[in-house]
Symmetry: C2
Subunit: 221 residues, 2 copies
Amino acid sequence: MNVLQSTPGKETSATRECYQTLRQKILTGALPPGKKLKIEELRGLLNSGASPVREALSLLTSDMLVERIDQRGFRAAPISKANFEEILMLRCTLEDKALRASLARADTTWEERLVLSHHHMIRTKRQDVEAFETAHKAFHMALLSNSDLPMLERYCSQLYDLNIRYRFLAADGPLYGKRSIASEHENIMNAALEHDADATSALLLEHYRRTGEYFSAQMEA
Amino acid sequence: MNVLQSTPGKETSATRECYQTLRQKILTGALPPGKKLKIEELRGLLNSGASPVREALSLLTSDMLVERIDQRGFRAAPISKANFEEILMLRCTLEDKALRASLARADTTWEERLVLSHHHMIRTKRQDVEAFETAHKAFHMALLSNSDLPMLERYCSQLYDLNIRYRFLAADGPLYGKRSIASEHENIMNAALEHDADATSALLLEHYRRTGEYFSAQMEA
DNA sequence: ATGTCAAATAATATCGATATTTTGGAGGCC
DNA sequence: GGCCTCCAAAATATCGATATTATTTGACAT
């Protein structure tokens, strides 16, 4: 019946649309931590009815990006040093598990997927922040994607997003690009391709902890 | 100014009401795995409008108790041996972390909370399944409750529920009460009160793995 | 001035109705 | 006879309006 959506309009449901937009705005800080999220206001921002907005907010509470207070509406999740450090700790614990599971089942299909995601990431200009971050996440998730442990991967993905939120919020600080992020990624990938779990895990966690310490220090101020 | 709710009627929001009822029904198997959850049907079961039902279902997707398929509604999450084993593995990993964090900060307030929750559990008759399970969960969460890591505790709570669902679903199998669950609990508590992290953790994980193996075997059939 | 209470205001939560989409099945075409 | 198309029934997703609940405002008494 439909002629492959001749109208470029809506392809997806309104709820999902709201969910994705709100998520992005919270992750990037466009909706800052603690901000009251009034339904009417958001209705205008996205343009859709109240129901999809409410449902999107409900979904975001599960991602811990939105706080719901009964009878008192929603607000963007607050931030704190303690929260950041908990996220970092959980990531280290869970990604280590996922990575080892992924490596234990390594095969060429997965290796090729990993190499491709890496290639795609380095080919994406860092100027286009949104595109780069998408590719960056894809690379990190590709490392874990062979674990055959869907819940664990979901947790890792969630935590990745929570972490990147802090990165966006700290974006005005001094550039943390001194380190060669690019070569760190390459080292991680190479260790993974060698199926050396201990080395890959060590490099990966080091990668996270370094960035972590940087932000943690910055949050004191 | 409300006079402590003279009307016994509603104390909580309709959404929360729906959420809790649905959650309970899914956990106990009253709504079996894979079952299509039609809004109209549920509207009758709980009695409330469609909006609270939808919102409750959205919240349950985050708990991984409900699956949402865009434009195609909701269904109770399916079960599988692989899923059960992943839950078990994650629990062992995360509860170990949480337990050690909790013990590391042990103080008398927490010890008393733990003792009380244990006392309450053993005083609750196992005949009253619902009450006992509430007390049982409270005891296990009390062990972790001193970690000062809210996200980790939330994950543990979620995983606990997912696990208990399998227990309810397997309830028709041969009684697994051969073991003295009571003494296992007591040993765990005592080790915790001694602040012996290694011992407590070992006992706790053993406690989980034993039950786990039992169900895992049962799920073959 | 200051604290308290009550009305006014604003926001949330919920309902009932409608539009859109999926699903199941009957009829026609190859 | 099997397969595709199209239609009817059912279910989902969304909207607009209303009832409930929180918050603010301002008047009054201390």
